[in-house]
Subunit: 273 residues, 3 copies
């Protein structure tokens, strides 16, 4: 099932508009290309409406937001919604500053997101901070562990219900939920946290997967999460003793470059709750 999703990305070559941070943007572009998608970056308000119009999906990442790019996020989000494009929000640092929390929650009020992807603390900040989501019980643990799995899955489903978005909470265990179904995904390696940008790359990847699989969006988002983790596992196998996090960054993207649907189906480790 997941395999078909990546095969569709390679077949359809979705063009993804990224309004994203300048820290990890190069790896985001190369990861999209590795998966079979195609990246465009633009964050100028006068440019984004035209650019997003020629794309299939929009990936909004607030990692190095500024007043200009925030304006661009609203404009591009509105246009992408008009055109029925896939739209994803990566609320980097929500909860860490007022501007980030307000921007993420403000966007959630004005833009319909197909997917919101963050770590548990970012997603909890949204659940607490957004008027849209007020009333959601964000009283879950600060990490998704086996002990807290059921409550975390319930939290994800409940937030999906309130927002109408697929909620992807990524960490040691990844959750991808709509209001009914929660994928619990166990691919990946802890060393991925020693590289900047694996989360940003994943957000772009999910966007591409959704664009290429419009009729099975939840499964496509889960497939992207699983594929990213599996690329981390395969990339790790090719590490030599002297290799560290900078080489590992290349190895993960390289592994995605070679990933087939078959490899993904064999390597995916998940359950459904």
């Amino acid at each position: 099932m997941f395999g078909q999703c990546i095969d569709n990305v390679r077949k359809n070559a979705p063009l993804v508009h990224n309004i994203t941070n300048y820290v990890t943007v190069n790896d985001v572009a190369n990861m999209l290309l590795a998966s079979g998608g195609s990246p465009i970056m633009s964050d100028e308000p006068d440019d984004v409406v035209d650019i997003t119009s020629i794309c299939g999906g929009l990936n909004i990442n607030i990692g190095t937001l500024n007043k200009r790019s925030i304006e661009a996020m609203y404009l591009a989000g509105a246009r992408a919604n008009e055109l029925g494009h896939a739209v994803l929000l990566d609320p980097v640092g929500a909860g860490a500053s007022k501007l980030r929390t307000d921007t993420a929650t403000g966007l959630m009020e004005k833009v319909k997101f197909d997917v919101i992807r963050g770590n548990i603390s970012e997603i909890k900040a949204l659940a607490l901070g957004s008027e849209t989501t007020r009333g959601v019980d964000a009283d879950v643990a600060d990490a998704v562990t086996d002990e807290w799995l059921d409550s975390a899955a319930e939290f994800a489903k409940s937030l999906a219900q309130k927002t109408g978005s697929i909620i992807a909470i990524t960490g040691a265990i990844d959750l991808v939920a709509d209001n009914i179904t929660c994928y619990v995904i166990r691919n990946g390696r802890p060393e991925m946290g020693r590289i900047t940008g694996t989360g940003c790359q994943l957000s772009a990847l999910i966007t591409a997967f959704i664009v290429a699989n419009p009729d099975s969006r939840l499964e496509a988002a889960a497939a992207a999460v699983s594929a990213m983790g599996l690329a981390g596992e395969i990339g790790w196998e090719h590490m030599k003793p002297e290799d560290g996090n900078s080489t590992y960054r290349n190895r993960i993207i390289d592994a995605m470059f070679h990933m087939t649907g078959e490899v993904l189906d064999e390597g995916a480790r998940f359950e459904i709750k």
Copy 2:
């Protein structure tokens, strides 16, 4: 002949001011250093006039343009023209948005460019969109292939005539033309298209080659295009089965780091039309 051009880059160590996009800027800087040149980046209007004054060339790339950087492009371009510096335009995404097309054509009206480098669709957008170039026949195919080679070469020469710039159209087959002569270059590999930024790197490289070879600008531009493609070929030879596009990015820059004039002369594959 091409070999002498890269030898001159290594000897003269040209300093290149880049106003370029934040997606590929790191690879642009490392490619310039690999070739023997030296990079400076600045896109603040209050900074660019001073910075471009101490450089030998200016590389303007509109890949992630914004209102501030556009202002900087005009200011730096004017100053570089005053000082007789080499100036290149990389019209990333011209034709994809009004702002990009207008910026590229607006710059072409106000700044004298030694070289304009883009893919065929970007260059066609300029030929159609610019007042400077109105009347140029842009009715060529959407890819430069052997079948369309003669008409594409004529198109490049005609646009060079109208603009007074060397026109570099890069793709599977590369064209580098002034109004009289068109180099047809067949170095490179298709996998280079699976990496973000090979075009941006090439634009910076051409700028460095022109600065270091002021008396043979057309040949220098063609040499840079050939060197980039050859680096792609050499880099590919060092790829292992598990390597993908992220490692390939490193391998191409590494190959430029080691390229000698002799290697370039032996590996260059081109004809003149």
Copy 3:
């Protein structure tokens, strides 16, 4: 001694706020992660006060400054001073443009820096240009060599005295001085100059080392400089004949990823003047 400093970085995992250039920012983030620290980037005036408040240190790098990010530098610097955080200035390009010189010297007047790190020409530009430092004798050679070592060390101590900051002048020989003591460090390789961003990475690294070693700031800064150079030496040992500057960039970060206190103590080469 230096070994203890890096061990403390790994133990304390200092969070460093970087207002830095978009050219080298990804490598800066991965270098911080390699050392055991953690990066956050933010350059929007409305965001930086909140962000710097949750960090332990602030690294200000003016490499691609603009009016917005300059405002952010002043705001973040003031807040970091209020909170007693470690603050570093990397005056990239000071002396190359009026805006860069004015920004660096302006920041030095308003913000108390624990460390100022640059190459000799940048540091000399500050010594000449700043009201704070007016009167400092900047009449030293343009490179720190054995011949000029004593006068360069005196210059560094004198500037440290005037500014109250640790002065780190990096090049073939590195100097790290307060008003009394100057570390002369001889780690590193000349090929590090063929990579963009080793200086920027070092500035972030020094910030992390100072945060994690608050009671021995001079030694911590010197340890970071030595560790960076040693990573360059170790990374070079793993280079294959076809590897060039782009792979070397990865190898240096990888070497930091694996560096232990023991390795650093064994490999550090320095004297005290």
